[in-house]
Every structure is written in structure tokens, then in C-alpha cells.
Symmetry: C2
Subunit: 205 residues, 2 copies
Amino acid sequence: MEFSSKLLENAVNEVSRLPGIGKRTALRLVLHLLRQPSDHTKFLSEALLHLRNDIKTCSKCHNISDTALCDICINTKRNSEIVCVVEDIRDVMAIESTSQFNGLYHVLGGKISPIEGVGPQDLQIDSLVNKVESGEIKELIFALSSTMEGDTTNFYIFKQIEKFRIATSTIARGISVGDELEYADEVTLGRSIVNRIPFEQSIRS
Amino acid sequence: MEFSSKLLENAVNEVSRLPGIGKRTALRLVLHLLRQPSDHTKFLSEALLHLRNDIKTCSKCHNISDTALCDICINTKRNSEIVCVVEDIRDVMAIESTSQFNGLYHVLGGKISPIEGVGPQDLQIDSLVNKVESGEIKELIFALSSTMEGDTTNFYIFKQIEKFRIATSTIARGISVGDELEYADEVTLGRSIVNRIPFEQSIRS
């Protein structure tokens, strides 16, 4: 791509470093900004800079937060004895939007993945084990992705906390609500039969 | 979408104002920036601000430029008597990348579109007519999109400059190189038969 302006080239290069954005998309976005009032670009740049420089992570659950402790952890109405272990902040947002969980979270910051060079020491596992050891947690819910890396991480954490004898569970895997059986993959369908639930329980939830 | 941080929410909102970027994509991009060194965000923000505040448009062709006259207009090796009329800077880049055009450009900044409220006065048409009137141009090539708006704009400009009796042409419409005939639409195929070119000419180009 040949640019008539160094400023334009520079902006396109920086934007195209974002994941999933190629040079053409970057050019489209940058030209859009040029057509908008310059305030738009100012607000965008400032929002990104403020976020990057001033953001904190909650010292208790490692969720992204503006304060030292996040809104969820300081909420006394929530049950602090049940902790849901998730990969990252997007999972917290997804579970929060269901309004079905009233406990606290523990954000690992990823999952164990030897291929991507992520080991247990790169994740917030030690602080989770410490929390369990201190006796403040009664139940741990594993809510990681249903992938090999997710299962590995679940198992690694389980092995570390097994000796403390607290309740552990994983979120249910099964056929998505609204899905046709014939299009479900065999593993999911198989698991959903093995882990079937009493019919009376299913109509209540 | 519920955010645990105002800074995060603000950044996601600003990013999602960009065209084709929804809240989820914006969140993915913003979280990516948080995982990168803070220099990345700094360079991105600065590049966008510099572009928006310091960019100029070439006073001759209205192309985006770092200087008062763009690199193409000040290049004395180019034929300033042939001017290619295009919609926007992306078309300049597309034609430049073919290395098949040695003249200058005239960037209209859009096309006449009553539906979007774009009239002739919103485009760089007057300055084009002035250029033609001054006698510095021998040939005008219309290279606008082959849409109703593009054709309307072509025709509007043609009517304005008709009296000055300079050569005018439009870029050829036809079957794309590498395309199968059976999948071409009727209008394109029809035009490509009406505007057929001598075989000898086709094998030379």
C-alpha cells in the first residue's frame, strides 16, 4: 500500500497492529476519523490512554477495576463463600449478565497452554490456592472454556486444592438452549446424556 | 453489557463508535491493548491525534498530504495535462498501485448522492471546473464507482465542462480479469460486448 502521507501511513500502521484488523480496514477506520469532527479522535485517544495508564486490577479477584477492590468484591450482599474461577474479565461480564450467580469471582488471566508458553506461574493460581487455604471459601465453581487448555487448568487447580476438602463443581456442559439435537456434536451430546438431570429439576430452572 | 470499570466502559464506547466495530469487538480490542506494553497504546493514540490535527489536503488535487502540495502534484515527471477524477484517496492509492497512470488526480471527496444529502456544492467540483477552464488540462478521465451515484456525478461534471471541449473518457467497464463469463451479471457482460476492443489491442495491453 502506497501512502501519500507519512501521518496517514503511521496511523494506519498503528491501527493495523490491533488483532483482526488488516491494513485495508485500518485505512477505512482512519479515513472515517478524518471525516468526523476532531473531537471524536481526541476522545478516542484520551479514553485509550486513560484506560491504559489508570486501570487497576482488583487485589482480591484480579478483575479489572477503577479502584483497589472491584464493585463485586466490595458488595456485601454477595455470598463471598462461593467463588467462580474464570479465565478473563469477559467471562465475568458474561456470567454477570445472566444474573444467576451471587458469589464472587477469581480471574485467572488465562489458561495453562504449553503451546502458547503459558504456565501455572503466569496465572493467578497461587493467590487462589491461598484464598482456599485461608478457609474463607466454601465452594469453588470452575467456569473455564470447555477446551483441552481449560480442562488442564481445571485439573491443575483441583490437584492443588484437593487437600483442603472444599466443595468443587464445574458449570454444566450440554446442548445449548434452542439447539436441535441432530446438529449437536457427539461429545457434547454424549456428556449431556451421562450428566442428565432429574426432569422435575429441569422444569424448575 | 455491564462493565466493572468506568475507564473500560468509556474506552469500549469510543472504539465502538468506529464504523463496523460493535461493543464486543471493541471490548476485544481494548483488552488486547491492556495486555500489550503501554507504549503500544501511547503510539496508537499519538498517531491518531497527529493525523487528525496535522493532516493537510493538497491544494491542487485535494488528496491527503503532509505538505501544501502532495507528492504526486509536485512530481515534475508526471503528465499534468491528464487528470483522473476520483471519489476519494483510497481510489488514488488503488490506481497508483497499478503503475499504469502517469497523470495527476482530482479527488472529489465523495459523489453526488441525494439520499445521503451530498450535493455538488459538497464536493470539489468547482475547483475542477476552474482547472479545466484555465486550460491546463488536455484530458479528463472519470474513474468513479460504476453506481448510480457515480454515473450521476460523472454526468454532472461532464455537463459543466462540456463547453471547454477537452478530451474526456471513463475507465473501461467489463469482465474482471480471471472471471468466468457465466457468473458475470448481464449489465456488465452487455457493456463489455458493446464496448469491445480490437483483439490486437487486447493482446498488447
